[in-house]
Structure formats: C-alpha cells, structure tokens
Symmetry: C2
Subunit: 345 residues, 2 copies
C-alpha cells in the first residue's frame, strides 16, 4: 500500500516537472523548436507554434530558470540593496523598482542592511554576486555607501538612488536641493526672515543636499543661514530639538529635514504652548501619507518615490540592454501647502 504510493511504475503522478523534451515529444517536434516557441523566436510556422503551445498547456510546462541561466549567463534577477527599508521613502522606492522590474520580466532580490557599514555593504554585494544578479540597485543614501561600492569590482551595472551618476555607478535622485529651495522660498515669500533648519545626519547625501538648498535660498535672499541643528531623522530627535527651540525661540519658521522629525517638533512646540503656524511655521520633507493629519497638517516638499524607483529601473534596463543612456536622472520635487505655514506675527 505504501509502496503503491511511491512505486515508479504504478504511480501516475509526474516524477518531476515537465521539460522541453517532454513538450517536444507530445507536440511531435524537436526540443529546440519548443525552445523557439517559448522564447518567441520568429522562425516557427504558425501551425507548429500552435501544436507546441497546446502541448505546453497540457503538460503545464514552465521553463527551468536554473538551466536557462546556466547557459545564458543571465539570471533575470535584479538585486536591491537597501537600508531603512521600513521607512516610507526607501520602502516606496523599492516598490517602484520592484514594479518596473517585474513588468520587465525580472526577479527582484532584496538585501536589507542591518547597519550601514563598509563591511555590511560589501557583504550584501557579495551575496548578490553569489546569486549572479544581472544588476544592482542601491537604496542606501549614505556618502559612505558610494565609497564602499567603488572598492569592489562588481562586474554588473549598478544604479544608486540619491547619488549623482559617474562612470561606474548610475545615479537617480529627486532634486533635494531644489526641494529645499522651494520650501525656503515659500517661507521667505510669506515674509519670514529668521528661518532655521533641522537637518538630517550629515553623512546622508540627501541631508547635505537639503541643508545646501536651505542655505542657498536664504543667501540668495540676503538672509542669514545661521540656525541649523542636526537630528537623526527620528520623531524623537525632532522632539528633543523642538524642546530646545521652544525654550529659546530663535526663528519664526523651521524647515525640517523630514516629516518624522517635523512631527516631533510639532509636538514639542505644542507642549510648550507655541502655536503653529501663528507663532512658528514648519515645513517638512517627503510627504508621507500621515503628514496631512498632523496637528496642524504639515506643509511639505513631496518626493515621488515610486517614480524614483521606476526611473532606477529604466536606467538599469537601458544598461542591461547595452544602450546606456544618461548617467544621472533627476526627478523634480513639489511643494504641498497645508496649514503649518503662515506669515509671521
């Protein structure tokens, strides 16, 4: 009885998945013809194609990726190397990449960095090389990352989100500097002259660019750019900085490096009885879905992360297709006005 279940003779279940050869036999053609059908090769007569397709359907044939990769030396897989993937921005960028990749017939392999260090990055890259990915998308917006990537001869195209492209690594980014300028110009337009900046950690590419934009916009207007405090992107750090500022108010407007820190700032000001926007205006950065429901709803610079991810993949596909395009792609940010900003006084 137990034997009947596994006896190769009496067992009617297929012992293994069907392969080209099985399809070929059923369709009465050679395995190569089946391969041609599967790969949409043009030189197959309509009649043959029909027979083969029928056989494929009958057997439920699926092409074996490993065998195909072995001979083509391509895995149809893109590695996504990311950190902070539970954050709104990186997560959505990854989703944009995933979508574009799957649409293009690629698999997406993910490696998340526990901590951002040279070793962790090299380890993840090796992981991907072991998997023989066809290309790597890097969503690790640290300056250090780019340096680490330059160390290893990777051998496949690399596209880094947030960076400028160079000859070894393609770059796709939202124009952070421009975003910061939009925010600050808006505040200046409302009549603010003391505009502070709560910055992200300065080893992050985007944090530096936002601080630069803030400074540039102020200087262009002849205003002082002397109030900048560095946080760590978290609501907690925003809260701490907010308390400091509440105790010793030095500005009528704050340009905050991201929405989470802005949330912390809002809460600290609220606790201290400082009204937003009547006493202080606040602008965030990212536009995560919750930003419109903060107290008060937050004026923000919006980044389209999914678009960013898609563009990454566009560049990657161009590279993989052997038709490299521009090495740098820039997505424009947008200012979204809500009620956390108003003229001073």
């Amino acid at each position: 009885m137990a034997a009947a279940d596994t006896d190769p003779v009496t067992d009617s279940r297929p012992r293994r998945l069907p392969r080209l050869e099985d399809v070929a036999e059923l369709a009465g053609v050679s395995h190569q013809t089946v391969s041609r059908v599967v790969n949409n090769h043009p030189s197959v007569s309509p009649g043959t194609r029909g027979k083969v397709e029928a056989a494929i359907a009958t057997l439920g044939y699926r092409r074996n990726t490993a065998a195909r990769s072995l001979v083509t030396r391509r895995s149809q897989t893109i590695g996504v190397l990311g950190s902070e993937l539970s954050q709104y921005g990186p997560a959505n960028t990854m989703l944009g990449v995933e979508r574009a990749a799957r649409d293009a017939g690629y698999f997406v392999s993910v490696a998340a960095l526990r901590e951002v260090s040279r070793d962790a990055i090299l380890d993840a890259v090796r992981h991907f090389l072991d998997q023989s990915v066809d290309g790597i998308v890097v969503i690790v917006p640290h300056l250090e990352t780019l340096a680490a990537l330059a160390e290893l001869p990777i051998g496949v195209p690399v596209v880094a989100v947030g960076s400028n492209g160079n000859d070894t690594v393609g770059g796709v980014k939202v124009d952070q500097r421009r975003g910061a300028e939009l925010a600050v110009e808006h505040l200046i337009g409302q009549g603010h002259v003391r505009i502070g900046h709560i910055a992200g950690p300065q080893d992050w590419i985007d944090a530096v660019a936002r601080a630069d934009g803030w400074r540039a916009a102020l200087e262009a207007a002849g205003l002082a750019a002397d109030l900048v405090i560095e946080g760590d992107w978290s609501a907690g750090s925003g809260y701490g900085i907010g308390r400091q500022l509440a105790a010793n108010p030095r500005a009528t407007a704050l340009f905050v490096g991201n929405d989470q820190m802005a949330l912390g700032v809002l809460r600290a000001l609220n606790e201290a009885g400082i009204r937003v926007p009547q006493d202080v205006s606040v602008v965030g950065f990212d536009d995560q879905p919750e930003a419109g429901y903060f107290c008060p709803p937050l004026t923000v610079v919006r980044q389209d992360f999914e678009e960013l991810g898609r563009r990454c993949m566009d560049m990657m596909l161009a590279e993989l297709g052997g038709t490299p395009g521009p090495r740098t792609l820039v997505v424009e940010p947008e200012l979204v006005l809500r009620s956390s900003t108003a003229p001073p006084g």
Copy 2:
C-alpha cells in the same frame, strides 16, 4: 588596437569566471574534491582542503548558483509575496524574514501586489514558481488571499503571516484578539463603560480579529459592544470618523484598529476641541515609531513585526529541512501605556 582589447590571445583578463575545474587544476585534484571542499563535506583530508582553499582564494572562485540549482533542484531562494509593503507592519515583517533568510543562506525574492485580487496573487505565485523558489512567505493579510492560495497546487511550502495554519499553509501571527483584549481591559480598568471601536476593513484577517477581541472583552465585563465604525486603515479615514464622533459623542474611550487611523482621530478630536485623554481616551494598534509623538502620545498595542518575520522563516526552514514543526506560531502582543488614555470624566 581595438582588437588588442578583445583578442583572446593577448588579453590576459579571464574570459569567464573560474569554475570548479579551474580550481581543481590549480590545486592538483579532481573537480569533485573541490566540490566537496566547497560544500563542507567531511571526507576531505586537511592537507587537500588547504590546497583547495588556497586555489579558491587565488582564483576568486565563487560557485555558480545556476549550475548548482540545476542539479540540486533547489534555488536557495524564498519568495516573499506582500502587499502594503510600504506600511510599517508589513515592511518590518519583510525585513524580519529577509534577515532570517539571509542568515540561513537563502536569497529573498520579493513580489509586491499592486492591488489585492485573486489574479494578482496567482500571478505573483506563478512569478515565484517560474523562479523556482524553495518556499513562499505570504504577507497579504486578506481573507481572500488564503482562498486564492488554496486554488493553485503550489508544490513548495507556504507560510502565511497573520493566518492560522492548516495542512497546506503554515501560519504565523501576532495574537490580534489578545491585543485587542489588552487594550479594552486597560480601558475598562480605568473605569470606561462606553468603549467604541474604529475597525479596519473587515476583509482583513487582523481587522476581524481585533474587532472580535474588542467585543469579547466588553462582553466579558458585561458592557455593550455596540459602537463600531469601519475605516480603511488610513489616517484620512480615521479623521473622517473622528469628525463624526466629535459631532455626536457616544463613547468616552476609543479602541482604534491601527496607529494611522488613531492619528486621524486625534486630529479630528483636537479640531473639535475635544481633549484627549480628559474627554476621550484613545488606544492605537501597532506602535509605529511615531506613535509616541502624536498629540498626545498614543497608548498602543505593540506588535513585534520583526520577530514575526523571523518566526515565519523558522517555520519555513523547518519545513524545508523536512522536519515540519507546529503549523501555527503565535507571537504575543504587548500594551504600551502613554498619555492618550486616562479615567473618564
């Protein structure tokens, strides 16, 4: 000149990556011995092992995954099928899975669902089967998902987050019902007798379980469970519901299905001049990092999503190792008290 760059004779760069055979030749052994070294097979003498390892290091040999998969019929890849992967919970669950998987030597392939539908799910599963993944982790907390999965003979182990396990699909979940009970019991303990529930969409497994827990806790205390309004998880829907309730107050405490909706509720109440927690207490669910910085900081039921992801992978590994353990794994939630709850009146 151009020829010199590619001429097979004068070009000293390796034409292709080194393989077992190349290592074997350099070490003066057979390719099989090299294979044994690479796979940590015990029956290799220390001397031979040393020679081979040296040759591997010299050539920078890395084993070819495709060839290996072809013969072993295992891809060392786990597919993660997820929706809402930019949300705090699913994203962190995925990260937990990724971490455990990579530690166990597996690659992680991701497919994100654009919309949750039978077709989209089946499409993603087929995508993974095309890639011949060794197992699939499903982070799509819809009732519908489980039904769709049951349709297809998948042929590899499947572990679903948030579900109860059955014979075809393993289940790993945080005890949502218990979490809801913790929240409601806390409110009852503070003296609340009119406790409403703002629920998530009822086609989500977790939303149903939380509503059940809320109802059970109230009924156990002999209180009425008659105020439940369904939202869509978003801050916007929480805001809309909050405005309704502010116009027509019917409870002194609200158990809200997740943190985002709670944010919307807080904002609506704040706008209407209803104080939290003096007039109304609010409890959220998830404990995303921002919850402690809402106005006021939100009392929540915390779920450890990363742990959840790790457990998923534990179950998967047991399954893959041929030693299936329990079909259901439950992680305990925890109540985190902050200042959005207080005794009524």
